[in-house]
């Protein structure tokens, strides 16, 4: 059969090749393609695709150009392809023109149906897996291994099983741990790691005074219970989620759009960490919270259900530029899906799935098909052919029926409001017009209409340009001023209308918006994009996970009445205990938690657990911890606790604290990179922690949790600061950094210089650069200077007028760095204090002011100290 068919094909091709033009049916590959190759494919081929047109395959010829189809099957006369070559406008410039015979061949091919070659139109061959047993044997793709806890010689150093695993490797190299860190260092380390704020001197004293054996355990438990814990650890997760407050393209310095309900997802994450929600539920809700109940038909939502809808904000963080119709193109829609896939896979699986977007992964067993199978779990929600614009992609905290009822009710209300508003507007206009017209006449013609419009609006409704123009008019348009210019009758009418309107406004009902992800309709067809090009359609795929982590033929779909259930199945696939996928998810998460506490992961490449990533330094430990994590109900707090209560976490970070002992090797020679953890790692703090610590030390930190973001503004000089005009309360400016509006770029300059991530997709890791802009910021910035002053005030008020200069220096030092200065340090700062006091006296400051400024100068130096930026 096969032979026969093959023979037939060869025969017919041979016949056609020799056939004279004008006879029989032309074939694409043999007859048409060579003509196109000669004259057209240079510009309209796979490489350049001018006007989006690629003529090298039948399916692509039929798809046409960016401007529409070029071939009408059966109608060569109506086909642009033929028209263009006939009129000679193609190829342009008369290069390689087609002969009339050649044009005739193309025309006949079209008239006879523009058929594809047999191989092109044949149904896709059955998919043959390329995943081998060897692929599945790669360490990170296997289920968790249970290894017995190793026996070690230095058993007194073992506080938790972690120590057994670490010491076993250390002992093999004749190494051990460094000394236990001092109580002061340990307190500062625990505070910064768990809540991202430094301990006060009183808190350090309390810990130092606690002589019980479990003093550190109690400290850790107390910090884990602090509401600030969720902020610190929620921020780590928000990095992976790629959280931003803005919607649409966020590229201009100012004029960014803040999503109405975005912050609710941020607060959800904080709550989840504070309540120690199991990571399994946490992840599942974020991927498929909307599919866990029938949100479309529910009578009302329980708080837990609202929480589940908010959780899906996790998949709403990709930059969606389709808020602008010019950008609502298939290419950019797909880009939103690609980025969402990147966020989803990099945060959970730690493999570079994105490589399979264009081709089978070069190093890892991830066929291109897997990528599009994963995409198929998202397309019912992000439907590329029936796109929901980003601003409409919201749910309410009430069910759709109620939302509709409220909208209808409010629309009715608006009907009674509108005429009253119009009447009021007319009265104001009558008063305002004569006041402003003379000034308006003096403006440039193009400014007149906007100025007029702005003047008629209440002050708070004017945009920036209108506000500026109205200010230029120099007319007092305050309500009080307007009322004085009205006749008594007008005044009465205005006041009556205002009060009626206020009453009506009070009757308005409302609901809050949630920026959720939800299936928008039935699943569209999802197909492989050849070479990553969505216009080059390959085989259709079913929703699925990575094949190497799946059982044969596993399809991720659990339809419910209101949704495809694909994401729900995906969440289950990622977290079902005992599977390779859940094992990888647990490993990747545990490794990240370890990295946050120890300065580097057990797998150094936290975002790459594939073949090109690093191998774990302690694979047995990673599997042990991941297994324990799952057995403990995926509890993050328990995981952190286990790590921090190990002796390894509590050791000193100083090389000099490694025991000097003849039986032990020199650690700098045996393990210069400290990959085996013979001492704790020195870590530079993240951008937010640096700023939060500064505010905490100065006593100004506003500890409020959650809510809408604090707005920022980019000044003309490029400095991003808090937008004082837009904040409701002055103390807002001292909120924790995670509550400042999170943008893709243009984040607060203070944060930006300290490696605050540019959130193009998500932030898989933070940098810890040492660049000169950091020094300039800490030394010269106005805000740091101001905070140094508050810091000095705090030192002075704590001393209550009683202390010596020496005691003040010590107090400031402890506030900033947790410890007391040594003699040399104290002398250095005391010297500075004295000289600065002289200088400020000479600058004609009063005695008290000169002293305050001098102390502020010392405090400023402390905030600049390297030690302030590091967790030891």
């Amino acid at each position: 059969m096969f032979l026969k068919a093959g023979f037939g094909f060869v025969l017919s091709t041979a016949l056609l090749t020799h056939a004279a033009p004008g006879s029989s049916t032309p074939q694409f590959a043999a007859d048409v393609l060579p003509i196109l190759q000669k004259s057209c494919i240079g510009c309209h081929g796979p490489k350049t695709r001018m006007a989006g047109l690629d003529l090298h395959e039948v399916s692509l010829v039929l798809r046409g150009s960016a401007n529409g189809p070029v071939v009408e099957r059966g109608k060569s006369k109506d086909s642009l392809l033929v028209k263009r070559v006939q009129e000679g406008s193609m190829p342009p410039g008369g290069k390689n023109p087609l002969t009339s015979d050649e044009i005739a061949v193309i025309a006949r091919w079209i008239d006879t149906g523009a058929a594809a070659p047999a191989s092109d139109s044949a149904p896709a061959a059955a998919y043959v897996s390329t995943i081998t047993e060897k692929d599945r044997q790669f360490w990170s793709f296997q289920t968790l291994k249970k290894t017995p806890i190793p026996k070690v010689q230095q058993s007194p150093l073992v506080k938790t099983p972690i120590d057994s695993f670490l010491l076993a490797k250390l002992e093999a190299k004749k190494l051990s741990y460094a000394k236990q860190a001092s109580r002061t260092t340990l307190a500062r380390r625990a505070y910064l790691d768990l809540i991202g704020l430094p301990p006060t001197p009183a808190e350090i004293d309390a810990f130092t005074a606690d002589k019980s054996v479990n003093a550190f355990e109690r400290l850790v438990d107390r910090l884990l219970a602090s509401p600030s814990f969720g902020e610190r650890w929620g921020r780590h997760w928000l990095d992976l989620a790629g959280y931003v407050d803005t919607v649409g393209r966020d590229v201009q310095s100012n004029g960014y759009k803040v999503g109405e309900g975005r912050w609710k997802y941020r607060d959800y994450v904080v709550r989840a960490y504070n309540s120690d929600k199991s990571f399994k539920s946490f992840l599942s809700e974020q991927i498929a919270g909307d599919e866990m109940f029938d949100w479309r038909n529910a009578k009302e939502y329980t708080p837990d259900q609202i929480e589940k809808l908010i959780a899906t904000g996790f998949l709403r963080t990709a930059e969606d530029p389709t808020d602008n119709s010019e950008r609502d193109t298939p290419l950019l829609r797909y880009e939103v899906i690609h980025q969402t896939l990147d966020i989803l896979t990099s945060s959970t699986l730690g493999v570079t799935v994105g490589c399979a977007r264009c081709h089978n992964h070069k190093f890892d067993p991830i066929p291109q098909r897997d990528y599009y199978s994963l995409m198929a779990t998202l397309t019912p929600a992000y439907n590329p052919v029936d796109w929901t614009p980003v601003l409409k992609r919201t749910l309410a905290d009430v069910p759709p029926a109620e939302r509709e009822a409220i909208d209808k009710y409010n629309a009715e209300l608006d009907k009674s409001i509108a005429p009253k508003k119009a009447e009021l507007g007319k009265l104001y206009e009558k008063t305002i017009s004569p006041m402003i017209e003379p000034a308006i006449a003096k403006l440039a013609p193009k400014d007149r209409e906007p100025a007029r419009k702005g003047a008629l609006l209440p002050e708070e409704k004017r945009n920036a340009r209108q506000a500026k123009l109205v200010a230029e008019l120099g007319v007092d348009l305050s309500p009080a001023s307007l009322l004085t210019r009205m006749s008594p009758e007008e005044k009465t009418t205005v006041q009556a209308l205002e009060s009626e309107l206020a009453k009506l406004e009070k009757q308005r009902k409302s609901y809050a918006k949630i920026e959720a992800l939800y299936d928008c309709g039935p699943p569209p067809e999802t197909f492989v994009h050849r070479r990553g090009d969505h216009e080059s359609k390959g085989a259709t795929v079913a929703p699925g996970g990575l094949e190497v982590l799946s059982t044969a033929g596993e399809v991720l779909e659990k339809p419910t009445p209101s949704s495809s259930g694909r994401r729900l199945a995906l969440a289950d696939w990622l977290t079902r205990e005992g599977t390779p996928a859940a094992s990888l998810v647990a490993r990747v998460y545990v490794n990240r938690v370890w990295g946050h506490l120890f300065g580097a992961g057990i797998v150094a490449t936290g975002d790459n657990f594939g073949k090109m990533g690093s191998l774990p330094t302690h694979p047995e430990l990673l599997d042990y911890l991941s297994g324990e994590f799952i057995r403990n109900g995926w509890s993050t707090k328990k995981l952190i606790r286990t790590m921090m209560l190990s002796r390894s976490y509590q050791q000193s970070s100083l090389a000099e604290d490694f025991p000097k002992n003849a039986r032990l090797a020199d650690p700098q020679a045996a393990d210069p990179d400290n990959s085996l953890l013979w001492r704790m790692r020195l870590r530079r703090m993240e951008s937010e922690v640096i700023r939060d610590c500064m505010l905490s030390v100065s006593g100004k930190l506003n500890p409020a949790i959650g809510g809408p973001a604090v707005p920022t503004i980019t000044q003309a000089d490029g400095m991003v600061i808090i937008d004082e005009k837009e904040i409701t309360d002055p103390s807002e400016r001292y909120r924790r950094s995670m509550y400042l509006v999170a943008r893709r770029r243009y984040n607060l300059s203070m944060l930006g210089v300290f490696d605050h991530p540019v959130m193009s997709t998500n932030a898989k890791e933070r940098g810890a650069s040492a660049v000169v802009l950091q020094s300039l910021m800490m030394m010269n910035d106005k805000e740091v200077h101001t905070q140094s002053g508050y810091f000095a005030d705090r030192v002075l008020s704590m001393a209550n007028g009683q202390s010596t200069d020496d005691a003040l220096i010590k107090s400031a030092f402890r506030l900033a760095l947790g410890r007391l200065p040594d003699e040399k340090e104290a002398a250095t700062l005391l010297g500075l204090l004295g000289r600065e006091r002289e200088r400020f006296r000479e600058a004609k400051k009063s005695e008290a002011d000169a002293f305050r400024e001098a102390l502020a100068s010392v405090c400023h130096v402390l905030l600049n100290a390297n030690e302030f930026l590091y967790v030891e």
């Binding site: 510009c43 001018m50 006007a51 401007n67 342009p92 410039g93 393209r249 590229v251 201009q252 310095s253 930059e319 950008r327 990099s346 493999v351 570079t352 994105g354 490589c355 790459n608 990533g613 970070s653 090389a655 000099e656 700098q668 020195l682 980019t714 000089d717 490029g718 400095m719 893709r744 770029r745 243009y746 490696d755 540019v758 193009s760 997709t761 650069s769 040492a770 000169v772 802009l773 950091q774 300039l776 910021m777 030394m779 010269n780 200077h785 040594d822 340090e825 700062l829 500075l832 200088r839 400020f840 600058a843 100068s857 130096v861 402390l862 600049n864 100290a865 390297n866 030690e867 930026l869």
Partner: protein, 479 residues
């Protein structure tokens, strides 16, 4: 992490030096020694000078950004047939972005072109000053790009792709080559002090490259660099005293962690900050420029001074050893001043009069100081404009064909590359893609664009992404 492999061997270098070449080669050799002394995979990133892969023609780049999409057929790409067909309906439906071009009516240029210079390059009457430097430039009339919206096309011009988030050309070059003057940033951005152009700071973003490769904004007003000077003035001697105390604290901390080099870098940064206060102030100080030079850049005329001062500063920065300088056009009347959708005959002459002089002055000034040969200057917008009229008075965006020019640093002089079709819609002859332009720019800097890579998320990323774009150097552009 990083790959800076395949450097020329020292021996190859010395062999070449026997055949005699200039100071750039010598500097290259010295840097080469430095690069070889270091490790192949740096554990930390810095801005010390790095050796390129080959002997460079240029050691610095100045990008004159012309945001908005300069109208090629009214400036540098004359289309007589288009003028002849003025007012006629065009048969092919052209790709448009906005409303107002549905009539598809061709619009000839209202401006006269004349052959200028010894090379006889046709330049519009709107650019009388550019007309005086044509013998020093390579004019590319056959550029094309991939998106006809400003934001995407600008990102493309800077990063090689239309999506935000990748490193810009200046970041890549700073990463690959470091910089000569350690007291100044490697990559300096000069924008209008009044505000940002389209995409703001995105067009000098480091993407996922380390933050030190981001462009640093230098202001032509006030302090040149953010926080360069104390925001709150302190008595004389105060800050020095603070820095001394700080150095003492930091030295003590440092001595406890002898193996951590980033602590050293941090200590050095405070010293560098002090040096930068002087160096940056120096660069900004135009007192040392002669009246003649100031006049050359049009600083004596409010119309030309806004952009002219940035062109002059660009020269000073390059002279001081800065690797990459990006100059932006005025933000008035519009933040994308070349975007002439309507009133072209009012708006286009305006932006030409603001910028024509400064750009030409820069070329002349670099030339007379002997700097042009080692500085690659690029004049470019993000795309071109359409041959059909928009609402009768303007032109919409065009991604299929646009013009830009390159000068100095190994580019041909008085040369026109490529052509658009007879109405100026499509580049048809010797077409140049944006990645090809990037590859060629890297080439004159001695860099092989295929080898300047950075490992990101499991892939060796590069500016030109050759596995996908197949970009190659365009040898025809090079002298």
């Amino acid at each position: 992490m990083s790959r800076r492999k395949d450097l020329l061997s020292r021996r190859e270098m010395l062999e070449m030096s026997g055949s005699g070449f200039g100071s750039l080669a010598l500097a290259w050799m010295l840097n080469q020694e430095r690069a070889l002394a270091g490790s192949e995979r740096p554990v930390s990133f810095d801005l010390t000078p790095k050796a390129p892969h080959a002997i460079p023609k240029a050691k610095a780049v100045i990008q004159l950004m012309q945001n908005g999409g300069p109208s090629q057929m009214d400036l540098v790409d004359p289309k007589p047939l288009l003028s002849k067909l003025n007012g006629k309906k065009h048969s092919e439906k052209l790709e448009t972005l906005q409303e107002g071009s549905a009539d598809n009516v061709l619009m000839g240029s209202p401006y006269k072109f004349e052959k200028r210079g010894q090379c006889g390059m046709d330049i519009s009457e709107l650019l009388p000053h550019t007309a005086t430097i044509v013998d020093d430039i390579t004019l590319i009339r056959s550029m094309y790009t991939e998106h006809n919206n400003h934001s995407e096309a600008l990102i493309m011009l800077q990063t090689g792709k239309i999506f935000p988030g990748r490193p810009t050309t200046g970041s890549w070059i700073s990463y690959a080559l470091g910089t000569e003057n350690q007291n100044l940033p490697a990559y300096v951005v000069l924008r209008d002090a009044e505000g940002y152009n389209t995409n703001g700071a995105l067009v000098w973003d480091n993407g996922w490259l380390p933050a030190l490769y981001r462009g640093t904004e230098f202001s032509t007003k006030g302090t040149p660099v953010l926080n360069l000077k104390p925001a709150v003035p302190a008595p004389k001697g105060s800050q020095d005293d603070q820095l001394d105390a700080l150095a003492a604290l930091n030295q003590r901390h440092r001595s406890r962690y002898p193996e951590d080099t980033s602590l050293d870098a941090r200590i050095r940064n405070y010293e560098l900050a002090a040096r930068m206060q002087l160096a940056a102030g120096d660069v900004l100080d135009l007192k040392k420029e002669s009246e003649e030079t100031k006049k050359l850049y049009g600083l004596d005329n409010p119309v030309t001074a806004n952009y002219g001062i940035r062109c002059l500063m660009a020269r000073r920065l390059v002279e001081a050893g800065v690797r990459f300088v990006q100059v932006f056009p005025p933000v008035r009347p519009s933040i994308q001043p070349w975007d002439n959708h309507s009133n072209l005959t009012d708006e286009l002459p305006k932006i030409c009069s603001y910028t024509d002089l400064g750009g030409a002055a820069l070329i002349k000034d670099l030339k007379q100081r002997g700097l042009l040969d080692e500085t690659a200057v690029m004049w470019a917008g993000e795309f071109g404009r359409l041959p059909i009229s928009q609402k009768g008075t303007g032109r919409d965006h065009n991604r299929f064909g646009f013009s830009l020019w390159m000068a100095g640093g190994g580019f041909k002089k008085g040369y026109i590359h490529g052509a658009t079709d007879e109405i100026g819609y499509r580049a048809v002859e010797n077409r140049v893609s944006v990645p090809e332009l990037h590859a060629t720019l890297f080439h004159v800097l001695g860099l092989d664009h295929k080898r300047v890579t950075y490992r990101h998320h499991g892939r060796d990323e590069s500016l030109t992404d050759p596995p996908v774009t197949h970009a190659e150097v365009v040898p025809a552009l090079l002298s």
